[in-house]
Symmetry: C2
Subunit: 417 residues, 2 copies
């Protein structure tokens, strides 16, 4: 399960030492403190333990809630996101309070003791479920990513070069989700065999509602989630209960879930007719493009960072709605040649996977880019092929390779190539 190559250490050490020798300094410094126990500085008792482990005041890490000046960010006419700072993350799990947020009319403050979920339509036994009912049922837990359908949409046409990876890719996060298997609920209410679609409706002001096809994959993997990273959902993520469909576009994962209705055709809500459709090159709109494709991005070095010549560690995140990441390659010459990166954590299906690669930068301008492959054989396309195939009318499901340009000064910038 631990997929790190046993050779990674030795290779890296050799490169580190080479890099250090080359730059005459670097990480190999002479010991600056004595090598004895006598060098222990005076030490005093620290702070009391508390009810919560808070962050160090030295750590600055936050999302950026987006709204135009003078607008509340609940205004449905503006983009309403809080993007995750991928450039500051370590590992693959997203910190509990930094999972990206996206909503269409702000975050409702729901009382869990009053909240109910209606399950009806083509079922033998319609039910109204309280949160206590749901928590009494069998549960499942799963670590998986969630990605906004619109993640990366700035790059469809002409994103500026002065953006960070938080801006370009910050609408994807990975948590452990816990709740009732959708299959259990389908069995409990006795969904009719003829039912092929399910309407899920949220209890937010925008009443977001989507039609979900009852595929084998969705029935097997769907969760009515009430837990997130070990605790009850937080309000921005759908408290007290949301739908979680691993690998499927964020908008389908209805937050503040209020209702599931089973039917035999899609319900054609405005969220799948007027919105969340994909405009094709021929001017027609494609509906129900639901799966998040294989994707990856280098998070360091990334947009607006500044690096120094010599040894640099390239690291980033890869994910696929189709399954498990099997390979990430990195190019430091704009996609001409590629080297396998090391996957540095536990590789889980439909979860973000961290990769890294050693790199000694010679100080000349370069372009760095990553390319991921999943266990279904999907390979992340370069931007030119991607655009050639789907055009630039679309807004959603952007998953082309992300190129970062680095100039002589070491400044890293977004490059649409």
């Amino acid at each position: 399960m631990l997929k790190t190559s046993p050779d990674a250490g030795k290779l890296s050490r050799r490169r580190l030492l080479t890099a250090t020798a080359a730059t005459a300094g670097g990480i190999i410094a002479p010991p600056a403190v004595a090598e004895t126990l006598a060098d222990v500085p005076p030490r005093e008792p620290g702070d009391d333990l508390t009810a919560y482990s808070l962050r160090s005041p030295y750590v600055q890490i936050a999302r950026i809630p987006e709204a135009a000046p003078g607008q509340r960010n609940v205004d449905p006419s503006v983009a309403i996101n809080s993007k995750s700072p991928l450039d500051k993350f370590l590992g693959a799990i997203t910190p509990s309070d930094l999972h990206y947020e996206r909503s269409h009319s702000g975050v409702p403050n729901l009382d869990p003791s009053k909240h109910r979920v209606l399950v009806h339509g083509m079922v033998r036994k319609p039910l109204v479920l309280s949160l206590d009912d749901l928590r009494a049922m069998p549960s499942i837990s799963r670590i998986a990513f969630l990605e906004c359908t619109g993640n990366g949409w700035e790059n469809w046409k002409a994103a500026p070069d002065n953006v960070t990876v938080q801006h370009t890719h910050g609408l994807v996060s990975t948590h452990e989700w816990t709740g009732v298997p959708l299959s259990f609920l389908i069995d409990l209410v006795g969904v009719e065999r003829a039912s092929t679609w399910m309407l899920a409706e949220g209890d937010d002001g925008a009443a977001v509602a989507r039609s979900i096809p009852l595929t084998d994959e969705i029935i097997a993997e769907g969760i009515l989630a009430y837990g997130q990273n070990g605790e009850p959902l937080r309000p921005a993520h759908g408290f007290p209960v949301r739908l979680f469909l691993p690998g499927f576009e964020g908008n389908l994962n209805i937050k503040w879930l209020r209702r599931l209705k089973f039917g035999d055709q899609p319900f054609m809500t405005r969220w799948e007719t007027a919105r969340y459709t994909q405009l094709q090159t021929d001017g027609k709109a494609r509906q129900f493009q639901l799966k998040q494709d294989v994707n990856s991005v280098i998070t360091s070095p990334s947009g607006m960072m500044r690096i120094k010549a010599g040894y640099n560690r390239i690291t980033g995140l890869a994910w696929s709605g189709h399954g498990q990441i099997t390979r990430v390659e990195v190019s430091t010459d704009g996609g001409t040649t590629w080297t396998d990166a090391t996957l540095t954590g536990q590789v889980l299906p439909k979860a973000q996977t961290r990769f890294q690669r050693d790199w000694v930068w010679d100080g000349r301008p370069v372009k760095i880019v990553s390319r991921s492959t999943d266990d279904k054989g999907n390979v992340q396309p370069d931007r030119a092929s991607f655009i050639a195939q789907v055009g630039t009318n679309a807004l959603f499901h952007y998953s082309a390779q992300q190129t970062w340009g680095i100039d002589e000064a070491g400044s890293v910038r977004n490059v649409l190539a």
Copy 2:
């Protein structure tokens, strides 16, 4: 990897329906709202999105910092713990701010730009490393539990019956840890072949320091961790860098790591002579009992809860420092007969694993208890066998089965049996 039984849903549904019929009510309620879209209540925009996703005001979840009245909890003469509320957790990952805390002189507030780690002793090339140095090196991420050596120690002799599972077992948590493989550092500094022990020293007021044997397992799995659940360590957990040794007693996982010294024998610090030794039945003390054994506990129903007759879902957590949990059994007759529980998440080695079992309680007094097995064949012992083997002089490494008694009123109490 997903170890949930495909039969779990069907079995549970039948039992739920049976239980419901028996109690004439329960979760199967008639629909209380109309089955049409017209029943949507008036809805208003919710709260703005923010930089952090905070908890719902309806969710009460916190640790309990322990200190006697009038004492600061940095006082080394008192137990200094903040225990995790296992009874309120969902899934297996511990919420980022609720990982248990344990320290011997409070939490130092270290400036990462000034912090250094000295690596010296029996090495070819002693080094002083900054946090930037460490973060430039190859990294590894791993989801694993950490458990205080003293977890459960109240139960060695005579714990009161009016305690919660937060009190009895709250010194174990599971996070994703990210940092530099210990093997890489050993290679980098060129540890001599004759070195068999490593001293790790913290930068806290108590200067906690421990000798760590350089076993194959520790070299292969040890991490100089700077990341925790996706973000920099929090101060209470060792910011900016700690040692993380999956499966080994918490006290070895030195926080605020300041120094690693390699030698050819244990360094005999006070933390392994005066403390953290295990007093045997014959009055002799056992040193270096380092591994956390196979363990489990039912977290619901658990101490101080009150349940109702009829359908109840039993759920809990299991973990082993020796490897992966392969089986958890649950008894509802005080250990006379056992039934396999379902493992409800992704089962990872040396990580907490959630289990559950359906149960219909007939309202008569019972004792419920869980028993876990790991992939090395270790089986969690009952308390009588455990005490018979190790006596009651000991303080650490308590891992016997936890029994909860339930009386006619449905009150759940700690039982030492």
